[in-house]
Amino acid sequence: MESSVRLHLSSSNQPLTLALSRKGRGNWTERVITFMASAMLGISLAHAQPSPDPALEARVKALSSELRCLVCQNQTVEDSTSPVARDMKDQVRAQLAAGKSEAEVKTYMTDRFGDFVLYNPPFKATTVVLWAGPFVALLLAGFLLIRRLRKTSTAPAAAALSDADRERAQAMLNTKDVSN
């Protein structure tokens, strides 16, 4: 299986290189693009895994996308190219192939690496702040906002006019009427 992947990739690589070099040999941009394209294909080649069972491989891929690579912590085990991530992926494959469920493999990982190994942290006592924090902050902010808005909207009504002020205002309004 691996050799067929290899063949496929190298054959698709070849026309691209040829096409580009035919166009212009001295063009730097094209050279760089060619180099990068072959480099990228090389990387994908290096990580083409033998997959005797596509269904299993899909499960391995799905599960290792939920696991954190502990060396390069902002990558999943699926995305990472680090040796430890490869080992973890192999472990996932071996355990799933041995008939273990996704939950059992996750438990194996968290038993050894802690919840940190899960990209999606579970909801429990120690993570309540993490999950509920933003909503609590939102509710608090909403509550404070509503309270403030209520206060400002009722404020003018509270400042009642005295009789003297009303007469002055009336007088001003009357004057304005006349002058217009």
Binding site: V71, Q73, P83, M88, R112, G114
Partner: protein
Amino acid sequence: MNKKLLLPLAFFALAAVLYFGLYRDPREVPSPLIGKPAPAFTLPQLGNANAMFSPADLKGKVWLFNVWASWCPNCKDEHPDLLELKRKGVVPIVGLNYKDKRDLGLDVLKKTGDPFELSAFDPDGKAALDWGVYGAPETFLIDREGVIRAKHVGPISAEIFARKFAPLLN
């Protein structure tokens, strides 16, 4: 409480939390294995492929388990400290030669000295993964009952040993 004080106070509290957060090492993942029985394995020894080692062999002893490799630069940093522990006879140290080649591992020990009672040879890192190892060096302290009591990620120094491991030796 004074209402005007509340907002700056909340601000500084948050700032303090974030400030100290800057000094925490995100690489140091707290190990859930502390307080748990050491994961079992049986591996050939680095120096003798026919002799096996299993953590169960050391039941009844307090020992240090050090994950190392010839390709690991930080392991070279801690090597003199491990040799010093061996020289003083503080605690027996068992090595785990991690994702290494046998001749390269042996070469390091020959050239720079061997602080280990023995080293188990784990070329594919399977046993290490079982121990929650995600790099080298890592050091574990295992008690008489075979329970992991402490773990340190990264090179160990005399200061770190005194702080993290020495109080647990008895």
